[in-house]
Structure formats: C-alpha cells, structure tokens
C-alpha cells in the first residue's frame, strides 16, 4: 500500500491533471523529492531552501506537519497527504 497525495488544482498541471497520486517516502522532505522525480516542477512549487513554502500547508492524515515534525514528519504506507494552499489576503 502506497502513500496517497491529494494534489491541489494549481499543481495538477504537473501531474497530467491527476488530483491524486501515489508514491512511497519516509518523510515529507523525501516525499517532495519523489514528487519532483515523478512530476518535474513540483519541488520548486512546494519548497524553498528545503522548507515547505509559507502559505502552503501539508497534512499527514489530519495532522498539520508544522505541529508534528515539520519536513521531518515520518510517513508510512497508507498515509493520506493533503497539500492545501492557505486562504489569505489583505488591503
């Protein structure tokens, strides 16, 4: 059983329109690298200097990785990953 990653609409152009992809990775850093290998362009969109970009939130099952172990958050087969852009603004 692999890890399922829910892809937000703006990144589906890198996954050939797929809203969900499967892969294997030990942690979030590795996940970003695996996604880049399978779908070039993803790494730059997701991270900057090895850190997940501000205004991008990543959830492992129902947990925000910022409250677990950030980029080092451990992943295992069967996990569901969600990549969710923040909703924000201001005058």
């Amino acid at each position: 059983m692999a890890i399922k990653v829910r892809i937000p609409t703006p990144l589906q152009k890198f996954t050939n329109g797929k809203a969900e992809v499967e892969c294997s990775a030990k942690n979030v850093t590795e996940l970003v690298d695996v996604l880049e290998k399978d779908y070039p362009g993803m790494k730059e969109r997701l991270s900057e200097g090895g850190k997940i970009r501000r205004f991008i939130n990543i959830y492992v099952n129902d947990e925000d990785i910022r409250f677990v172990n950030k980029e080092e958050t451990t992943l295992k087969d069967g996990d569901n990953i969600s990549i969710v852009p923040a909703i924000a603004g201001g005058r």
Partner: protein, 140 residues
C-alpha cells in the same frame, strides 16, 4: 454569476460586522455557482488590513465540503475601511506562491466593504490568469 440566498448574505455581512474593525473571512460551499452553505471562519492574523484563515479550520471545512458532495464556490472577506475590490495582496495571495496559477480557480472572491457600515457593499470577483473580473452576485 454566483447565486446566494438573502439569509446567507446576511450571515456573511453579520460575520464581517462582528469582526469589525478587523477583517473577517469565510468560505462559501455549494454547487453550480449556487451558495448552499456559509462557513464563517476565524481570522488567524486579525487586523484591519489582513486576514488569513486558520489552517486547521480551513482543512476541516474543506473536508466537510467534500464529504457533503459540494465544492468551494466562493471565499469571502471584509475590507473594514476599503472598497469592495480585491487589493494587491488579495490578488497575490489568490495565486500559488511565485506563480500566476490560481489556488482555487473555481472560487468567486466575495468582498464586503464596511466603509459605510450602515450600507455594506458586497461584490464578487474572479481572480485568474493575472486578471480580476467582477462576477455578478444574484441574491435570491
């Protein structure tokens, strides 16, 4: 066009008034350009010129919307002292960081101006491909 019931519009404006003088925000769920449910959200970065939805609450609401078979048809926030038009920051944050790929291309950005609190102005916009276009709101 985004269709919205009078009661739902009142819920939006009431939430914005409750948040005044800070910005308030929320999510509109529904189908086929019709609002069926209003989620009044917490502003995690409260201020008179800024808002950011609480990430946990946003995640929970988005899951609720999916499970109900709906989509996010809109996002709303207030401009307590500004016009009902997206600011530069509103437009910038509507896109994936560093790109012009809209984060939520299906969503209408609804802005509530409270410059005249007795007469709030509510307008909707599509923010896509670097352009801002007004979307008519049909109140039923």
């Amino acid at each position: 066009m985004l269709t919205i019931r009078k009661d739902d519009l009142r819920t939006i404006v009431d939430h914005c008034n409750t948040g005044y003088p800070d910005e308030a925000c929320g999510i509109l769920a529904g189908q086929d350009g019709r609002v069926e449910k209003v989620y009044c959200m917490k502003n995690a970065r409260p201020g008179p010129v800024s808002y950011e939805m609480d990430p946990e609450e946003q995640f929970t609401v988005m899951k609720d919307i999916r499970q109900a078979g709906r989509v996010m048809v809109g996002v709303f926030h207030s401009h307590p002292g500004g016009h009902a038009y997206p600011s530069g920051v509103d437009v910038e944050k509507a896109y994936w960081p560093g790109t012009q790929l809209p984060n939520y291309p299906e969503a209408v950005y609804v802005i509530v101006s409270l410059m005249d609190r007795a007469n709030p102005v509510v307008k909707g916009y599509a923010i896509d491909a670097g352009a801002v276009q007004e979307v008519a709101l049909s109140v039923v």
